[in-house]
């Protein structure tokens, strides 16, 4: 171990509204020593996902990060000290390592540590083969249940999950229509991620554009944004449509319920006999191997690709998380330490 210091970002206070630097505190501690059954991972990459904002706010499908705890995040790295024969020194691993240079762990918990497949990069492990790609796969396939020829509408289309959902939809024989903010992003969604079309919510009337692009309505909505964007989608449902509620990034920074933009068109679910359903990707853990294989097969066939947006330096962790809510990332947001 070349370094002698473990930098750690702790949660200093519950964020209210937009994330601020003062919500976090960077501390310097000694590198931990593993006890019986434990090992130490030198973290090389961190994953950033909108759901992390929720973990800082309140108990939900996972308990909230406590004040004074290291900020929770998925990551990848290498074992540098070990009393655990399953994870020997030199092993490349992934797990919920958090915003720190070194993570002490026994490998268990709600998000168990796993050894990377031989030849799999940390970027792919955290992105296309991590919760990002698996969220896209299980959310679209199991909850959205697209059929060949269906129109799939994807909000947050330039984001990590959204950009994979559109690629999977295309691979499954569907039409993929994205929604993203700004011409640069929309061009990227079509040209790089390969969607059929992308609506710029910053300059175009979203509901009207959906109607033009999908005059018979959309069969599947993969929703990452919520609020007005979801209302525009609800106004354009085909009969018996499936709305996959993956996230609602438009509301994550709301300081109170009063700030949340309410959904007005939910009764469209009745008129079109449609359903709106939420899911948590961790529930699919027993089937992750199936998802990784499907994604790897599509990648090998050239049908989908992994697209990463890599920032540098642990000191930039809070700013990197903010990028998601400022609409700055293209594809999967990672931080290399």
């Amino acid at each position: 171990m070349a370094d002698s210091i473990n930098r750690r970002w702790l949660l200093a206070q519950r964020p209210s509204g937009n994330l601020k630097d003062s919500d976090f505190e960077l501390v310097r501690e000694a590198i931990p020593t593993p006890g019986a059954g434990e090992f130490v991972v030198k973290v090389t990459h961190l994953s950033f996902d909108p759901t992390q904002r929720g973990w800082l706010a309140a108990d939900s499908y996972l308990p909230a990060v406590k004040i004074g705890e290291v900020v929770r995040a998925g990551g990848a790295g290498e074992v540098v000290a070990s009393n655990n024969p399953k994870f020997p020194v030199g092993a490349k691993v992934q797990g919920a390592f958090g915003w720190q240079d070194y993570c002490l762990t026994d490998g268990g918990g709600f998000w168990p540590c796993a050894t990377l497949h031989p030849g799999m990069s940390a970027e792919h492990a955290l992105g296309i083969f991590g919760t990002t790609g698996l969220t896209a796969y299980f959310g679209l396939r199991d909850v959205g249940q697209p059929k060949t020829g269906d129109v799939v509408l994807i909000s947050g289309a330039a984001g990590a999950t959204g950009s994979v959902v559109g690629q999977i939809a295309k691979a499954m024989g569907c039409t993929a229509i994205g929604i993203a903010g700004g011409k640069t992003k929309c061009d990227w969604v079509v040209e790089t991620a390969g969607f059929d079309a992308c609506i710029d919510y910053k300059s175009e009337p979203v509901a009207k554009r959906i109607k033009e692009l999908a005059p018979k309505g959309v069969n599947v909505v993969f929703e990452n944004v919520g609020g007005d964007i979801l209302d525009a989608a609800l106004a354009n449902l085909a009969q018996r449509a499936r709305v996959v509620l993956c996230g609602g990034i438009s509301s994550y920074n709301a300081a109170s319920a009063a700030e949340i933009q309410g959904l007005k068109n939910y009764m469209a679910l009745t008129v079109t006999r449609s359903r709106m359903e939420g899911f948590i990707v961790l529930d699919y853990a027993p089937r992750f191997a199936e998802g990784v294989k499907a994604l790897a097969d599509w990648m090998a066939a050239g049908a989908i690709k992994s697209i990463e947006d890599v920032q540098e330096g642990l000191e930039n962790a809070p700013a990197t998380l903010r990028r998601l809510f400022e609409g700055k990332n293209f594809g999967k947001q990672l931080l290399r330490l």
Copy 2:
């Protein structure tokens, strides 16, 4: 035919906001004479349902009632003139007869005419064995999928459909919690309709009371109201809950989308892995006989009962429809002509 005049309520203009007398026009015409294959029904009872408000406003799952057309409504009556051997003079029938003394029909269309089962009263045919009871049966059973021991939350619990849903829930071994407006209604929901409890949304904090009555969350929500009431339910979902979107009476009189109370807690569907699903009872027409049999068996066993609220006189049709939106009806709203 003793009368020589057919009074008919026509739609005079598209209603905006609350229903007004001037939205309708009462005309007097000659009683029609049946052509080939046609017959004339003397209407004895009309059914009133919240969805009729939607038919007056815009095309939805059925085309809107046109300006100048008779107001669409289900009804029951007796054939008084006929050139149709399936429906001879004297037959007791039900169908979409509309707000008029006499209906000329060939018995077909999206809502075909049907002969009443022998011994079935018009009140039961339009209520418990009509779309009201069938909406409760298929919505709860097929969409809500309650399991024994589940907690079922029902808004509009004193209404026609809601009061049957709670009775079916009890018959299926569930706990039935109602939501209604005012102490008189809530007492009726518990004492007459037999729910386990009823929350008064006019005097009680709904979300807090749901939490007290169902500390582990509600497994099924049968939603007739929408808006704030639905938000309170969403805040109290158990894991993998089912929200049955039957109606949203709180929004039916909204003159524009801006007046609709938006849903704020829809992301609870994600955190609890739940779904919200709409349905249209007419889709279940091929299975109506199954529903009628199930309801009749429960009635025979004393597990459920038909509860009707009968007004008098065709001249009171607009006022009777308004009763639904003024929260005046207890059970199924009917009008006897």
